[in-house]
Every structure is written in structure tokens, then in C-alpha cells.
Symmetry: C2
């Protein structure tokens, strides 16, 4: 497995609802998948994960393949998303970190200054060879269901490294950004390189699209996002477009609480912008149009509040119907939640929702 | 202490910068105070709080007075805010709850259905008599510095009660809201009554303004906020205006992450809308104007990112200067952070910031 493996590993799934919608076309029905669909909400996931630490699981190809395929089998979603963890490429590159149950990623030596940034290793493609292998297995396993590659964006990765773990206020991260912009940009440049390498490996191995998660970008003002984050995210999206050449690999970009940033996240080079539940899809589409970031009509993904899945069938269908209606104001709509599936979600509710979205949106 | 105590307990501070700005006038300098200015960032606070549990502290008049006055003495801020806790009126009304260190409020019997809501006690004014007493002490202690009353808004209180404690996703709260609107509205009506009683007690005892914190309203879409929250918040603000009669007691309303809700929060009856750091004040003022919720020019409060206080003097002053400039686009601006002071903040940074805001904004 190398960085320059042929792009032809990819299946021809251009007519599947997910890829049609991602490219702004009209699919036979609105495609639907769920962020964190592979994970703790599924008993079969908890069973296969038992006894295997998270990062080890992400580097075990058979396990990644099984976990990624589980929600496709169970729910009939229109896309699979590669099971991974946002800090995986950091860990694989040799940065000392562990995922601690109940806490999240804990970084052994937080990155606090220029020297720490200089010492950061970058990711070599062979360090994530098991991920490429998992993608290879999945292209066989998934049949005609597209596989979305997965990576975390530089700001979110930087916050883990600088804070030393999950953070509510990102104060050390923002302090570095505002007090030492040079070191900040050096750090984000390194992280963008690592992310790009990680996504290129996945692209070469055969993923059909990618989603870049800037989970915590919503903690930033638009001004700070533009100055301190957007250029690095743009380099990733542009670099990925160069790698995949003529074949357009749809690039989805998402962060929670990013209502103020939608245009800027789109301008960074995303083909599809994920929207949480705070901004209706018609309003989101309008913001994308006004930002001038989209050549054609904007394509959006989202935006059901994951908490609504706890409110009973009637509420779920009412909200889903509204979202499908509002989504028609965009050039394309991929149905999803506005954030990840919550661990206590009843999986049957998700299965019924997939069926509902398909039947409500079917073009006769 | 009764609900109908004379309003005349209030000092005449109409010409102080805080009250001038809150009413949309032009003060001698831009007033500045900080959310959570009384609290863990101050060594003198940690000293006096030692050994006293939070809720007990909030019901000890001398301690409330001392803690509330500390940041005024140290920083020279233009307003004091009553030291209290968002769940205090619930606790005082007889609901079983405790504040657990490292967790936050924990409710003994979470409110999950109609029967639980029926059983909820409402607050009697005498149950918060120590708070009224503290306000009385403060009107003597504070000299010419206005005192802002404090209460939590119904949605945030409901989330504590329904979830049983602090929540990241508010899924049980939103499930109740969407699955059983009747019970939801009954619950919020009760909480609005309790909040209104709590604020009326403070108004009668002599506070010069109030701030209603809907800390978690930013978790809601505008649609849900309007349908499930706004009517109850409006009843509080309107009820308070009736109580204080001819004397306009400025009503400030704040929640973090509420960029989509600013107009609706203003329409609920707020005179001043607090803005976090995600929306610049000129954009916030424009949203308030467009919402048609303000008769005159909008008055805003905020919006320095509390994390910037960790970035060194140059960054703090650069950001403060920008915010002062953007604040001029509003009818009035009260300088504040975009969220509460973080516990590790260096108090000297806050003192220097007060001085900077005063000197930068002084009208000669």
C-alpha cells in the first residue's frame, strides 16, 4: 500500500443516490446516512469491540470492515463511513496519546510552543496501511454502497494536541493562535499535511467520498476561522482534488455549531457542507449562495437534531418531513443528523427513519 | 421581606455608565463588567468560600454581599452581579438537589412526566429572603455601582430538572418537548413563575437591573426556541416590567451560542441582548434591527472571547479595541465577555482590561 496506488481501486458507483446527490444531481430518493452510525448505539458493535481498545480497533482491518458495514446491513443506509477515530493519524504518526474511557484522547506531551511543534512527526502513508487494507476489504464487502473516508481537520486536531485532551473552552489553543500566530500556522500546516496524507491513502485505497470533521470549529468566530483555520483546510481539499485528478471525489465538511461559518467552510473547498440542527437547510443553502463560495447550487447534508430520535415516531417523522422539504431549497440534500448518533439511541428508530426518508423522497 | 416591598429600596443611579448604556443613552465611557466576575478566578473568593457549600453560600447574606462586592473592589467594574446559582430558586422551593464538585447540580428525582411536573413546588418569596437581605446589604456596600439581579431562564432550569444534572445534548429535555408539548408547557410555566418570583424579590430589595441567563438556549433551533421557550421567557420579562411599574429596570438576556436566536431573545422582552464571541456586535445589532423586536436602537452586551484573556496583553487589547469599534454600530454597548470568566483567568488581566476599556472609550 503506497500513496501512489492507482485510483482505479474505486468502484463505479456514480449512479448511487449518495454520489448523485453529493454532485448536485437528482437521485432516485434522498440518500440518508448517520454520523456515528457505526458505534455504541449498536449491540453488534459493542459485541465485536469488547476487549479491544479504540485505537487498536481502528488499526485492525477486519474489525474496521465489520464495524463499518454493520449499520449498512442493519439500517440500509445509502453510505458507509469508515470507522476510525479523529486522533488516529496522530497516534499512527508516533505522537504519544491514548483514548481513556470516559475522558477521550489524552496526549502524553501537550504541544505548547514552537519547540513542541518542531518535534511533531508527520504521518507516513505506511503508518496507516491497516486503514488502507480495511478500505480494500470494504470495497468488496459493501457491494453498491459508497464508502465515505474519514479524517479530522487541523483545528480540531490542534485543540487535542494543545489542550492535551478534550476541552470545553479551547483556551490554550486560542491563546497560542492569538499570541503566536507563526507557531500556530506552523502547527496547522503540519497537521494539514498529516490529514492530507491520511485522506490520500484512503482515496487511493478506494473510498468514494471523504468527510472532513472539524468537530470544534464552531468554537471560533468567523474572523478567527478565516485567518487561523481556513487556509489549512483549503490546502487539504485542494491537495485531495489534485490526487484524485479527473475523478471528482466529493468532499464533505462538517462541524457542529458552525452556523456562522458555513460559507467559509464551503469556500475552503467543500463540495457538500454539513449543517447541524440550529440552521434550517433552506437558510443554510441561502448562506452558501450568498457567500459566493459555490459555483453551482449548494449541496447540504443534515440536519435532524439527534435528540429528536428520543421523542417518538410521530415527532421523528414530522421533523424528517420538514427537513426533506427545506432540503429541496438546496441544489442537493443528503439526509443526516445534525451531529453524531447519541450512544443511547434505539437502533430501530434509525432503521425506521431510513425507510421513512426513502419512501417520502422517492421519485416516481 | 415580601414580594410587595417598596420599589424605593433602589438607589438613584440613573446617570451611571451601566444604566445609561442599558437604556440606550451615551455614557461617559463604555461600561464594563464580566460574567462570573465573582468567583473562582479570585483568590479572595476562594478564601471566603472555603468550607461553605455553594447553595449554602448563596443563602448566607453576608457572604453573598462580600463575594458580589469583591470584583468591584478589585477590578473597578461598572456593575456588580448578584452572586448566586442558577438552580438556587429550585433548591429554595424545596426541590431535592445538590451541587456536586466537578459535576454541577444533581437533581434527586428528575422530572420525566406529567405527574412529576404536577408535584413540583413553586417558589414562595420568603424562601429566598436571605437573597433579598443580601441585596439590601449590597445597596449599602456598593456605593454608586449598580447591582444586577440574577436568575436562570426556564429552558435551562428545565434541562437540569429533566436530565437530572448538566447535559451535553439535552436529549431527555428535547424528547419531552417534542413528544408531550402539554406537559412541557406546564413545566415551563411553573418554572417561569418561580423565576419571576425570584426576580421580583430581587427587584423589590433594590437591584438596579436584572440579567436572565438562558445558558443552554443555544442548543435549540430558532423554531423550537420560539415555540417551546419564548412565551415563558416573555411572561417573566413582562411580569417584571409590571412589578417595577414606571421605573424601567433594564432587563438583560444572555445565552451562549445563540447567534440564531438573538432577535427572538430580544422579542421576548429583553432591553439588552448578550452576545457571545461568535457574532460580532455590529452583525448582532443588525440582526436585532432586522428582527423588528426593538423599538429604538438595539443595546448589546459582550463579546470578548474569554479564551483571549490567556493570549497576552497585546491580543487582549487588539480584540477589545475591535469590539469597542463594532459596538458603536449598536444603540448602546456594555462591554463584557462572550461567556463567563474561566476559572484559571489571571485577575490582573481583567483589571487591566477594565482600565483599557475605560480609557479607550472615554468621551472627552
Amino acid at each position: 500500500m503506497t500513496n501512489s496506488a492507482p485510483v482505479s481501486a474505486r468502484r463505479d458507483l456514480d449512479d448511487t443516490p449518495f454520489l448523485v446527490a453529493a454532485r448536485g444531481g437528482t437521485p432516485e430518493h434522498t440518500p440518508v446516512w448517520f454520523m456515528r452510525q457505526a458505534g455504541r448505539s449498536l449491540p453488534e458493535y459493542r459485541r465485536v469491540r469488547e476487549g479491544t481498545p479504540m485505537l487498536q480497533a481502528c488499526l485492525t482491518p477486519e474489525l474496521v470492515c465489520e464495524i463499518t458495514a454493520q449499520p449498512v446491513r442493519r439500517h440500509g443506509v445509502d453510505a458507509a463511513i469508515l470507522f476510525s477515530d479523529i486522533v488516529l493519524p496522530l497516534y499512527a504518526s508516533g505522537i504519544g496519546l491514548d483514548i481513556v474511557a470516559g475522558t477521550g484522547p489524552v496526549v502524553a506531551e501537550p504541544v505548547r510552543g514552537a519547540d513542541d511543534v518542531d518535534r511533531l512527526p508527520s504521518l507516513e502513508p505506511e503508518q496507516v496501511a491497516p486503514v488502507a487494507e480495511a478500505v480494500g476489504l470494504l470495497t468488496g464487502e459493501l457491494g453498491r454502497v459508497p464508502l465515505i473516508g474519514f479524517a479530522g481537520a487541523p483545528f480540531t486536531l490542534a485543540s487535542y494536541l494543545v489542550e492535551g485532551g478534550p476541552s470545553r473552552n479551547h483556551e490554550r489553543t486560542k491563546a497560542l493562535m492569538h499570541s503566536d500566530p507563526h507557531t500556530w500556522h506552523t502547527l496547522l500546516d503540519k497537521l494539514a499535511t498529516t490529514t492530507l496524507t491520511f485522506l490520500r491513502v484512503q482515496a487511493a485505497a478506494g473510498v468514494d467520498a471523504v468527510q472532513l470533521f472539524d468537530s470544534w470549529a464552531g468554537a471560533l468566530s468567523l474572523r478567527d476561522y478565516r485567518e487561523f483555520v481556513q487556509p489549512h483546510t483549503r490546502r487539504i481539499f485542494e491537495g485531495l482534488a489534485e490526487t484524485t485528478g479527473g475523478e471528482a471525489l466529493p468532499r464533505v465538511h462538517f462541524g457542529v455549531g458552525t452556523g456562522e461559518l458555513l460559507g467559509a467552510m464551503s469556500s475552503a473547498g467543500a463540495d457538500v457542507v454539513g449543517v447541524d440542527w440550529r440552521v434550517p437547510l433552506d437558510a443554510a443553502a441561502q448562506r452558501l449562495r450568498e457567500s459566493g463560495s459555490v459555483p453551482g447550487e449548494p449541496v447540504v447534508q443534515g440536519n435532524l437534531d439527534p435528540a429528536v430520535l428520543f421523542a417518538g415516531r410521530e415527532a421523528v417523522e414530522r421533523e424528517a418531513r420538514r427537513i426533506l422539504t427545506e432540503g429541496r431549497a438546496a441544489g442537493g440534500h443528503i439526509f443526516n443528523l445534525g451531529h453524531g448518533v447519541l450512544p443511547d439511541t434505539d437502533p430501530d428508530v434509525l432503521s425506521r427513519l431510513v425507510e421513512f426518508v426513502h419512501s417520502e423522497s422517492a421519485r416516481s
